[in-house]
Symmetry: C2
Subunit: 210 residues, 2 copies
């Protein structure tokens, strides 16, 4: 990206959602939108939307609103999803398959390149064009396929040693479904997905109507 | 719960994580901990931990620290996971199976009671003791089994009508994996899980080292 913007975390957390709504507008052939129109669709306030957009640069024009393709492209650039990112999946259980199956990732520039497992009976199987490979192929595959991200879907006890191998092989982002508290060097990022925390949040909101 | 506490959202968002760490301590037979000890394990500051605990009540004692079983129980009460909650899963694809398979939910009081699908070839199959049922059994099953929560794992286009049926049948919490922007009455809560947003967050943090 040309200019390095400093975007507040709260704004950044909303960007994927803006990107999704702007994409829907594009699909519908809509080229122009306003903070009021977006506010209605997204259940955000128009004031919040204008604030968020102003932190990204000065995109709105008085009496015109926002140019949808431009803003969509700009957010895609900020999110880094205008480039391609290669991902491997560690673990070929239901969760691994659900990730490969996820229809939305390709549109965000994420390419699922390989799946790895220890189970001999799974190795060699092909799912959506992706072959399940043994773990001893891991390091070579990461290098040969320019893989930056690994989704770790295996259980906590098996994930521990594996994360070190991934980092040593050059992985810079770990998408962690394993419930392991992963320790990594400073130049590697871990994004944890805790489904049970999401379910607890739902329950708390049901109990407290928030 | 006896006393209704007003817990700031930021603190609440950390409670599942505290609960998990305190559970690990209990498993290790540790009865007493301190904000410093927790800080080291959790990569939070001791000050933040003391602040968070003080919003839950006055649990720490100077020179003693925190009573692990008591605090664990207290957080479980606040999160509502000391009670049992019945869940059904709509959609018996990989994601639905991954949810049923998820080993942690039972320990938080969540019981997976049923799975529903439209595909005739899947109906009647049993997975981890849960039979896949046709959608025309939905309303009766929800009533007969006191189900409060539905995990919606089907695609956006199919989910739309179904959410109305779930709400009409008495579901109060929708755990939404479908990418559908769900519209529900005020007494129903929707918790969205957007895996693509999590992946975009990982990417952004890799690009910006945050």
């Amino acid at each position: 990206m040309g200019v390095e913007l400093s975007i507040p975390k709260a704004v950044f957390d909303r960007l994927p959602r803006y990107y999704r709504y702007l994409g829907d507008l594009l699909d519908q052939g809509v080229d122009r939108t306003s903070s009021y129109d977006l506010a209605e669709r997204m259940s955000y306030s128009a004031t919040l939307i204008r604030h968020d957009m102003s932190t990204l640069g000065d995109f709105g024009r008085l009496g015109y609103g926002y140019d949808v393709p431009f803003l969509h492209g700009k957010i895609s650039e900020i999110l880094g999803i205008n480039r391609c990112h290669n991902i491997i999946i560690i673990g070929s259980g239901n969760l691994g398959h659900a990730i490969v199956n996820h229809s939305n990732f390709a549109q965000y520039g994420f390419a699922m390149k390989g799946m790895f497992d220890v189970s001999p009976k799974l190795i060699g199987r092909v799912f959506r064009g992706i072959e399940i490979q043994p773990l001893d192929r891991l390091e070579a595959f990461i290098r040969e396929n320019d893989v930056q991200i690994a989704a770790v879907t295996i259980s906590k006890d098996k994930a521990d040693d594996l994360v070190d191998r991934l980092v040593d092989a050059g992985i810079k982002g770990i998408w962690n479904f394993s419930h392991l508290e992963v320790q990594v060097p400073d130049d590697v990022v871990v994004e944890d997905v805790h489904l049970s925390e999401s379910l607890m949040r739902l329950l708390y909101r049901m109990d407290h109507r928030v």
